[in-house]
Subunit: 234 residues, 2 copies
């Protein structure tokens, strides 16, 4: 039996407009890990309680505020589109991340969640990844963008866009327990992917496709955060 005081909390940070799969991919992995490794307890945290919209028609409800979970062992920050640019300017999220990053063993992100870590200054001088279309913003925040499914640098681990959170979750499950246990979780969620049109052909992807839109979102969503905006517009 694992007593409460031995629990290591795995905190998933949510905020209005978050991309649903960014959260649910790794959250499902950690929920399915719990029967084998009950010391890792997934929790969903937000600055305030209450029903929260996502970028899908499904709204979600976090169970804890940041104050309820002051020292998670692991923290994972999911991404989104304009909602995440806005969240980069949230003082509540920044203060929480700066605080938990001091004591957590692992500070992670999925997709543009890396930009929230970056806005808090946590990725300066580090190798990191994010959603392919947002790499410019990550570099403006002092990180070196690496095009990999996930990137580890010290206690920081960042995943590529949206669905990469599942791979990040399974990788972490293996690191925190062992490969056999992670494979059991993989089997539970039957993660044996068959993208119907094959893998992404990166040679055909224009990574600067969204640059004009990003510029616009930085201007509107961070209108009241001149220092951060200056960095991103430099």
């Amino acid at each position: 039996l694992t007593t409460e005081c031995q629990k290591k909390q795995v905190a998933f940070v949510v905020y209005p407009g978050v991309t649903a799969l960014d959260v649910v991919g790794p959250l499902q992995v950690f929920s399915d890990l719990e029967p084998y490794a009950p010391q890792f307890q997934p929790v969903v945290v937000a600055e305030h309680l209450g029903t929260m919209a996502t970028d899908t028609p499904l709204s979600v409800v976090p169970r804890h505020t940041f104050d309820d979970v002051p020292e998670p062992s692991i923290v994972i920050v999911p991404g989104g589109f304009e909602a995440t640019i806005r969240a980069m300017g949230s003082e509540g999220i920044r203060d929480y991340l700066l605080s938990v990053a001091e004591t957590a063993d692992v500070v992670g992100s999925v997709c543009t969640g890396a930009l929230i870590l970056g806005a808090a200054g946590l990725l300066e001088g580090r190798r990191a990844t994010t959603h392919w279309a947002f790499y410019i913003l990550l570099e403006k925040l002092g990180a070196t963008y690496v095009h990999q499914r996930w990137v580890e640098d010290g206690k920081f681990i960042t995943a590529a866009g949206v669905s990469a959170g599942i791979d990040l979750g399974l990788h972490l499950a293996g690191r925190l327990t062992n490969e056999d246990t992670a494979r059991l979780v993989q089997l539970r969620i039957e993660y044996d992917p068959e993208p119907p049109f094959g893998p992404i052909d990166w040679s055909k992807v224009d990574r600067d496709l969204l640059a004009p839109i990003l510029k616009q979102y930085v201007a509107t969503e961070l209108a009241d955060r001149p220092e951060l905006r200056a960095k991103l517009e430099a």
Copy 2:
């Protein structure tokens, strides 16, 4: 511009205890399809409104009741574990599925959601799939289990366990629009999977692993559904 009356609703059915990724995988795909094909409008429906637990610490909130969405163009039923065995006995869900199956173009499921379709009698004599550990129950409901990532039979399309809903979603996106559009959605959600420990080695999987537990859940969760129970225990 797409007027409301041209909208084709893609209804995701949720119920208490549902597996979060079963819903959110294909829901994310259809939400990211909407900018390119606004006629397909994802909606989340349930028998009753209100906050609903999932099998993760994240609760979800459907926006519509079954009555609000009487004729979706597509309906997708996600799965779960004991919660899904219980949902197989829900008259509200069965009546809704029997009704929408008459007019819908596509009736789909993810994971054990196929058992709910099966319990409604919709998969009798059909080829179908489900989560690997539940194939026995699917066959008891008159379907022929096929071990594939997704299986199409007439208007019915069933996906394998949990994460297979993403592949099903992208396949449907391609079928409803075209391959280029589905590839754009794939790129948006950066679905270029790299399972950290490789694919599942099916030669090592005992598909009857859960048989004793399934027997128990059928007995307890369907205690007041003697006809359905008799079929599953035959």
